[in-house]
């Protein structure tokens, strides 16, 4: 029995230690974001508590001088179009692949599969020239086009769901005179709601957090998304850790809220996405 107790203690100690490792850096940044510049200069160390826990002045500075409002606006714009496009593209691809037998079907599937093996970071040098050729460089459409591109994960998630919709529904509709497009719009798409929710969440988090693509394709300051705007904090705020911390907390907060509300869906989404 004592062995069991030892094992239990070991389990809880390791879990508590891991939680501490995760939460401590975040907690310290939260505390730092509430400190005044004088408190920071005091050199009381990173673990001292802020004098006034309701001092939100750094947040105001970060929000205004860091141009976070326009950053959130740009991110929202990109999110709406990129996610809308991904849902449409993904569901159409899945519908075409699952419901039709046509020549070169295997080839098309293979094309999508092989594309999944090509990591985006490797091809940007050449992709850049293409985006530039379309005149999309330094516009919000560059990341939108790239995010919509070929999201094999969402295609796969949609495919799983389309497969689970009984064929008899299609056939009944076809007898009533519906064509393929009507079937897709009226039957398949509405039934894909759970898959759409998954794709929206997974894609949304990916797009919200992405740094590489906006950094390369939207260098002008007006087009900062939250990643790149936050990255620019390094310049003007230099060693003002209280402002930088406030900016970081501002960016993390929406993620935390979404996570707390949608926990279960998020786990499932990432599980489905990765284990395809």
């Amino acid at each position: 029995m004592t062995r069991r107790i030892v094992a239990r203690t070991l389990v809880y100690t390791s879990l508590a230690a891991a939680s501490l490792v995760v939460l401590l850096p975040l907690g310290v940044v939260l505390m730092t974001s509430l400190k005044t510049p004088e408190e920071m200069a005091d050199d009381g160390g990173a673990l001292t508590l802020p004098g006034d826990p309701l001092n939100f002045r750094n947040y105001a500075t970060a929000f205004q001088d860091g141009r976070m409002l326009s950053a959130f606006g740009n991110t929202a714009f990109i999110l709406v179009f990129a996610i809308g496009g991904t849902v449409l593209i993904g569901s159409m691809t899945a519908y075409a692949i699952d419901r039709f037998t046509f020549r070169f079907r295997k080839l098309v599937v293979a094309l999508f599969l092989v594309a999944a093996l090509v990591p985006g970071v490797t091809t940007q040098v050449a992709t850049f020239q293409i985006v530039n050729g379309f005149g999309l460089f330094d516009t919000r459409w560059a990341p939108i086009a790239l995010y919509m591109g070929t999201d094999i994960v969402s295609i796969y998630i949609f495919l799983q769901f389309v497969r689970s919709i009984p064929l008899s529904l299609d056939e009944a509709a076809r007898l009533d005179g519906a064509n393929a497009f009507t079937i897709y719009r009226k039957i398949i798409f509405p039934l894909l709601k759970p898959a759409i929710a998954t794709v929206v969440i997974v894609k949304g988090i990916t797009v919200y957090n992405d740094f590489y693509i906006p950094f390369l394709y939207m260098p002008s300051e007006d087009l900062g998304v939250i990643s790149t705007s936050l990255f620019r904090f390094r310049g003007p705020f230099g060693a003002h850790w209280e402002t930088i911390s406030a900016g970081a907390v501002l960016v993390i907060l929406p993620t935390l809220i979404v996570f707390l509300f949608l926990q279960r869906f998020i786990y499932n989404g990432f599980m489905k996405g990765a284990t395809r």
């Binding site: 389990v11 390791s14 879990l15 891991a18 939680s19 490792v21 995760v22 850096p25 310290v28 940044v29 050199d43 160390g45 990173a46 673990l47 593209i89 159409m92 691809t93 075409a96 692949i97 046509f102 020549r103 079907r105 094309l111 093996l117 090509v118 990591p119 970071v121 490797t122 091809t123 940007q124 040098v125 050449a126 992709t127 020239q129 293409i130 086009a145 790239l146 591109g149 070929t150 295609i155 393929a180 897709y184 919200y208 957090n209 740094f211 590489y212 390369l216 990643s227 990255f231 930088i244 911390s245 970081a248 960016v251 993620t255 996570f259 926990q263 786990y267 990765a274 284990t275 395809r276």
Partner: protein, 311 residues
């Protein structure tokens, strides 16, 4: 030729399906392509065309801007493999590879522990997974402050009476170790959730049966859990290897590649977009792509049961 059924000599239709009119057949054949038009166009424009162009650029001396480019044969590739400073970035990947091993071991450990009945299970699960969802730039800043002089880490060490004035990001070894540590912090949660999902999909009766047979926890892990999660395990190994080779965000945000922390992708981005060496950068990208494809291929060969069944 379509309306023959009206004739008196028409055969009974039951035997063979009525011949579909040609026009309708063509339309039916076209329908899937209408749905695939946009997806395929995007796929080719943003994946296959770049790959093809990249291979082509890699044999030239193009600077990415001028209309002039010359074919230089394998020159870029020889340069890549013979100039030591260009090759050194691969050693940096070693830190991230080592970190991946730690990460997978840790994730496996926590997933096993949390698949059994543990109090505050959902809390621990959430805490471990959440870092994966955080914005990379925010993580970079959180950890820049963590490794600052007098920052989080130094303050914590001071609590234990160890006053270090160690510049954590000051020397290549310690900087790379620190950065690799950050990527463990960031990505452990994803592996953990994948493992947990796989473990929970193992039917519970197996454990009960094993327990009746007198198997202890270790034996249960060895003979039930380990084989059950093998596909996911290999998947995470390959994701980790390709992730280690293409590490970019955290080192770029935190050090900008200074003090020997430049990774392969940072170098490629700098070559292409700062030094306008598109040809050389393309060759570098081709090399990286080939390595990652080779790793993926090896994994598929080693674990054939982990086949992707898209069709």
């Amino acid at each position: 030729m379509t309306d023959t059924t009206a004739g008196p000599a028409a055969p009974p239709v039951a035997a063979a399906p009525a011949p579909v009119p040609r026009r309708a057949r063509v339309r039916r054949g076209l329908t899937p392509w209408l749905f695939l038009l946009a997806p395929l166009a995007l796929l080719i424009t943003f994946t296959y065309a770049p790959v093809a162009n990249m291979v082509a650029y890699s044999f030239t001396d193009w600077d990415g801007v001028s209309p002039e480019l010359h074919y230089t044969g394998g020159h870029n590739y020889t340069e890549l493999f013979t100039r030591p400073e260009l090759f050194e970035v691969f050693f940096v990947s070693g830190y991230y590879l080592a970190a991946s091993a730690v990460q997978i071991a840790g994730a496996l450990c926590f997933a096993t522990v949390l698949s059994f009945d543990v109090r505050f299970r959902n809390f621990f699960k959430g805490v471990l997974f959440f870092p994966y969802l955080i914005n990379g730039v925010a993580i970079g800043f959180v950890f820049l402050y963590f490794f600052q002089d007098g920052g989080t880490l130094d303050s914590v060490l001071a609590l234990f009476g160890r006053h270090s004035s160690h510049a954590w990001l000051g020397t290549p070894v310690s900087a790379n170790t620190s950065l690799a540590g950050v990527s463990v912090w960031r990505y452990l949660g994803l592996n953990f959730v994948l493992f947990l999902g796989a473990i929970q999909s193992i039917p519970g009766e197996l454990y009960e049966a094993a327990e009746l047979d007198g198997a202890n926890r270790w034996q249960q892990f060895r003979h039930i859990i380990a084989p059950g999660i093998k596909p996911v395990l290999t998947l995470t190994v390959i994701l980790s290897v390709s992730g280690s080779l293409s590490a970019f965000e955290i080192p770029y945000i935190m050090t900008g590649g200074a003090t020997g922390t430049e990774t392969f992708v940072i170098q490629t981005v700098k070559l292409a977009f700062q030094f306008n060496k598109t040809g050389l950068a393309s060759a570098a990208a081709v090399v990286l792509l080939l390595i990652i494809l080779a790793v993926t291929w090896a994994q598929r060969r080693l674990v054939p049961d982990d086949r992707v069944d898209l069709v």
